[in-house]
Symmetry: C2
Subunit: 292 residues, 2 copies
């Protein structure tokens, strides 16, 4: 499938870039594969220095009409969304005319969780003639692989915490909620919702500082996985060296992510960070997520 996507038969690939290093990682990978790309950099999110390395246009969140016009002029038919973008509020949108006409529908999409919003936005792109691809479809090298990734292995206790975390993520899947939980010694310490993974890990660090999490030494696992209903084209969870550092600051023993269900901008850097901090990092096979 990725061969087809990389063939270039559909013109250059439009990459809509949010924040972080993932957009450049994807742009580099697709570019290496020989396909032309055009970046659509989101103002306030995308990194100008990275964007400058490729043909690009700047746009604001909400300028859907501008995107359609420019992408068609560039002969782009396939689109990838990649990079961080905090859920904007409706009030923060600066809609252009095309977006304004869609506003009643967009307002309805804002009622509900992230999946609901993202899947709806994806649908709008498709209706306007763009084919939406997952970043991992065009750049499979960003997917986290399976197995023990760093030097440190999880203990048996850690492995039990990982299983419990995956089961919890499965149970909350229908509620279109965060993709991460923290489990320590069979106890659920945190469930991610609107605060995001960084916010959740900062909370664990605070609780530990206040003596509300027992035990000396590193304990607990950050578990990240896709939700059952997730549209993998627009919302795979991402991890990186910063995730490892936040987990280390929270006193955790390691990080487990669903193999091929999470993406990273720099696997090597993430592994080096884990090795240096003494944390394990593992890619957990998706089959662990099947109901027992």
């Amino acid at each position: 499938m990725s061969e087809t996507h990389r063939s270039g038969s559909d013109g250059p690939l439009a990459i809509i870039c949010g924040g972080g290093n993932l957009p450049l990682a994807v742009a580099d990978a697709v570019s290496r594969s020989g396909r032309r790309i055009v970046l659509f950099a989101l103002k306030g999110w995308a990194d100008p220095a990275s964007v400058a390395r490729y043909p690009h246009h700047w746009a604001r969140v909400g300028q859907f009409g501008r995107f359609c016009r420019l992408a068609r002029a560039e002969n782009c038919h396939e689109v990838v969304f990649i990079g961080s973008l905090l859920r904007p509020s409706l009030a923060q949108l600066r809609p252009d005319w095309a977006t304004l006409r869609l506003l009643p529908r967009i307002t309805a999409l804002f009622r509900g969780g992230d999946d609901h919003l993202l899947t709806g936005v994806a649908g709008i792109f498709e209706e306007h003639g763009f084919r939406l691809l997952g970043a991992h479809d065009v750049a499979p090298e960003i997917l986290v692989p399976e197995g023990q990734l760093g030097r440190h292995p999880p203990t048996e206790r850690d492995s039990k915490d990982i299983e419990r975390g995956l089961a919890l993520i499965r149970a909350i899947g229908p509620f279109d909620i965060g993709q991460a939980v923290v489990i320590a010694d069979d106890r659920v310490l945190a469930v991610e919702a609107a605060e995001g993974t960084d916010g959740m890990l900062a909370r664990i660090a605070d609780l530990r500082g206040a003596g509300r999490i027992a035990g000396p030494g590193r304990i607990g696992v950050l578990v990240k996985a896709t939700k059952p209903a997730q549209d993998r084209r627009v919302d795979l969870p991402s991890v990186g060296a910063d995730t490892i550092e936040a987990a280390a600051a929270a006193g955790l023993a390691g990080v487990a992510v669903e193999a091929r269900g999470a993406i990273t901008d720099d696997l090597g850097k993430m592994i080096r960070a884990a090795d240096a901090a003494g944390l394990f990092v593992v890619g957990v096979p998706a089959r662990s997520r099947e109901p027992a």
Copy 2:
């Protein structure tokens, strides 16, 4: 059943008092019913002024031998735990001799969630000849009743959020996790785990302050309910005027608690706080928690 408990045939009731106003509310209610009580006040948690109003002993968390000795000398056979007590760390315990002998077992109880810990501790009391009762068994007036409790009714949208919140609490029940969630306009904003309800509501206030929760005006509901597996004798969720104030500070529209599944030290004060702040407060029938 409560008649039996209030008969006094089993000697005075031992009330182990944690923090907050609930211990005094329970002591007053049982005392009014004519049964003698002896308070066992936990140092660092129980309020000295309240405790002084009844026959009492002070003890530290972990002085199980001291409790057994004193309770037997007072001819107490029935015990109630009531009041707040943050999960202590094992290191914070100052175990006496009886507790030391139980330490391997207590250490095992500390592995896992609150239910696991509390149910295990309850079992230890029972094995030593004490009958453990729920505070609401001896003082049913502390249970939150069913129906619209204040002046403000929930909107239809709020009612949908309440149903979603109850369904989510049911889904996470097997994971021995917090008893509260926040839902706003069908979106799950927060799930309580180790941080407690106050910590969760403070987080919502922060997210709102940072513009990460859309919309002007009050929106969202705090939903509190018992977990399916919860030992109701030791761990019913509690709410009060402070809960309303924290929900108001988080910008929520109201608070929904499971009727007869949550306790309060002062229902009238809680309702007045809700009316004054413009929030609704409702007791939701337990039948709403049945699977659809």
